[in-house]
């Protein structure tokens, strides 16, 4: 870790981590003493769907290609809305896929396959 004169790589992290531990302890103790505000509505559905959709996109985009992964992303995340309707979302997915292929893949040259490796091998 080194000394103040010759700071090792662990010097700053140690100081910061110690600080964080202290803050955490204070916060913990405070939560037992003080009355806090309730957390309020927590959207499990929204959280789950958005995160799952994103992770899924990352997992399958190279394998299945944009043409599968992008609509999946759009539809799964759109499902999080209480106003979700299949017709609209499919149109949105199609439109966005087309837009992204044109702008990102052809226009900006992002190396993502339109049809993925699973299908072209």
């Amino acid at each position: 870790m080194g000394s103040a004169l010759k700071m090792g790589p662990a010097y700053f992290p140690t100081i910061l981590s110690s600080l964080l531990i202290i803050i955490g302890v204070i916060s913990l103790v405070r939560s037992f003493i003080q009355q806090g505000t309730p957390i309020g509505s927590f959207t499990f559905r929204g959280l789950l769907l958005v995160i799952t959709a994103t992770m899924l996109f990352g997992l399958i985009v190279r394998g299945a290609g944009m043409i599968v992964a992008l609509p999946a992303l759009v539809i799964i995340s759109a499902y999080a809305s209480i106003r979700f309707r299949w017709g609209e979302s499919l149109v949105l997915a199609a439109g966005l896929t087309l837009f992204c292929i044109l702008v990102f893949l052809k226009g900006l040259g992002v190396p993502l396959p339109i049809v993925g490796l699973w299908f072209t091998r």
Partner: protein
């Protein structure tokens, strides 16, 4: 006289066809995202950073800057027409702006916002041009200890001005600093906090963090309750304010500009604090204070001027000291570093074309905005009507592809998702993510300056108090912290932020 020479250098840089186009694109895009609720300048700039890699540095920064101050214009449009703030700093405009709209005075409200914004933007740009060079000269006298203390001050200010619990904000700052340290230590070559994951050897990408916490986190938060919108005012009569209106808006615009300019420089706030402060002060000072909240034109003019002034002056710490004063500026630091420009006081002398080009383009941008916004009102209104359930999947798509395009690794997408979860949980737990992003950018820098300072002082930690600049800065930081803790002011701080959605 030097000012004239500098400004003409700026003009030649900013007036090229390409840069004018980028400026226009930036302000247009900025207005668009300002109009759209749920999408703010932070997430947008984060999304566009990958695109700016391919652009020359001046053009990239001109466009990104345009997005930021452009979003302040756009935010007021939804505030006035739909009673929904399109952007955090436009919250206050909903109070009187929407009321004016319901009274059939939507056009006047929009015009007032645009006029105030233009005036403020112009004045603030002038301030930037006047005060940046002398400030940069002072900054050249800074030693590593002074820089360290400045960053401490910046982070403390961000904590004090953050919403929510003070303690948690400090915790977020420390967390951000630690996060910034992830990766290979420059001095020793040893990997820290990487858990043997190769993708982390270069550290966590700030675009990943920014998009995750601000982009995804915001989307998830908006999905909590998809409110039915207030009735949208679509009939917009005349845009011209009456003579009486002009008289009434003059002083609020002047005051708002002054307040916004001053507060924009302070680290941690950007344009938000300015608009709140300007509204409160205007209400106290105005003869027509009884009308506030029921459609007083002053209630639109003052905050709108303040938020635009703040957006421009928040560039001052960035362009002179190289220190970001809010998350958007932090992203600008990132953009500059990617372009190979080291932010700091040397930028003015080493890259005068860049510096003055950006400043002049800000004025051009404000000009574009006032010309764009008033005739295009109809278009903005139609865009406002796009339901959020179409918008957020699109945002998600742009985030995912955008973050992938940085290093072409899927890992970044997963990590962004992780920060999305964290961002959401943090906001539910009353921990403001903005100070964390600021600290994240400053973390490695702070460590470097700390190391250098201690090296120069031979391990003596009192150097931070013996150097006059450093001592002043640290004292200010301490004062800010104490002031924020005093119970009376504590309550005021909570009150001020309670109106924020």
């Amino acid at each position: 006289m030097e000012l004239i020479a500098n400004l003409s250098l700026g003009f030649t840089t900013a007036f090229t066809g390409a840069n004018l186009l980028y400026c226009l694109a930036g302000v247009f895009l900025g207005t668009l995202i300002g109009v759209l609720p749920g999408l703010g300048p932070t997430a947008t700039i984060a999304m566009l950073l990958p695109v700016t890699f391919t652009l020359p540095p001046v053009s990239a920064l001109i466009m990104l800057a345009g997005i930021y101050y452009g979003s302040q214009y756009g935010g007021s449009t939804t505030s006035i027409l739909v009673n929904v703030p399109g952007e955090a700093a436009s919250v206050v405009t909903t109070l009187d702006g929407y009321q004016m709209a319901r009274q059939g005075r939507a056009g006047v409200a929009l015009a007032t916002a645009a006029i105030g914004s233009f005036f403020a933007g112009t004045v603030a740009t002038l301030l930037l041009a006047l005060f940046a060079p002398p400030l940069a000269e002072i900054a050249l006298k800074f030693g590593p200890a002074d820089y360290f203390s400045l960053m401490v001050l910046g982070l403390i200010a961000a904590v004090v001005l953050a919403q929510g619990s003070l303690l948690h904000a400090v915790g977020m700052v420390v967390l951000g600093l630690l996060l910034g340290l992830v990766g290979t230590d420059v001095n020793s070559g040893i990997e820290r906090f990487t858990f043997d994951i190769p993708e982390l050897a270069d550290g966590v990408g700030f675009v990943v963090v920014a998009m995750g916490m601000f982009g995804l986190g915001e989307i998830i938060r908006n999905l909590e309750n998809e409110k039915l919108r207030s009735e949208v005012v679509t009939k917009i009569a005349s845009l011209m304010p009456t003579k009486e209106d002009w008289k009434r808006m003059m002083w609020p615009i002047l005051r708002g500009t002054a307040i916004g300019s001053a507060l924009g420089i302070l680290p941690g706030s950007g344009s938000i604090l300015g608009s709140f402060a300007a509204y409160s002060i205007e209400k106290k000072v105005s003869k027509n204070s009884a009308e506030f909240g029921k459609g007083a034109i002053e209630g639109v003019a003052a905050p709108e001027s303040a938020n635009n002034a703040g957006a421009q002056t928040s560039f001052i710490p960035l362009l002179t000291l190289g220190i970001p004063s809010n998350p958007v500026m932090a992203l600008m630091v990132g953009a500059m570093i990617i372009q190979g420009i080291q932010p700091g006081p040397a930028v003015i002398t080493e890259q005068p074309a860049l510096f003055w080009g950006i400043i002049v383009s800000m004025w051009i941008g404000n000009f574009f905005l006032i010309i764009l916004n008033l005739p295009l009102i109809g278009m903005w209104v139609r865009i406002i009507m796009v339901p959020y359930r179409f918008l957020f999947p699109a945002i998600l798509v742009f985030c995912a592809i955008g973050v992938f395009s940085l290093k072409n690794v899927e890992f970044d997408i997963y990590f962004m998702a992780l920060f999305g979860v964290l961002g959401y949980i943090f906001t539910k737990l009353d921990c403001e993510p903005a100070p964390m992003l600021l600290a994240f950018i400053l973390g490695p820098l702070m460590e470097q300056y700390l190391r250098r300072a201690l090296l120069l002082s031979r391990g003596d930690p009192t150097v931070f108090f013996r150097r006059p600049i450093s001592a002043t800065l640290l004292t200010l930081a301490l004062l800010a912290l104490i002031v924020a803790c005093i119970p009376v002011l504590y309550k005021k701080r909570e009150e001020a932020f309670r109106e924020e959605p």
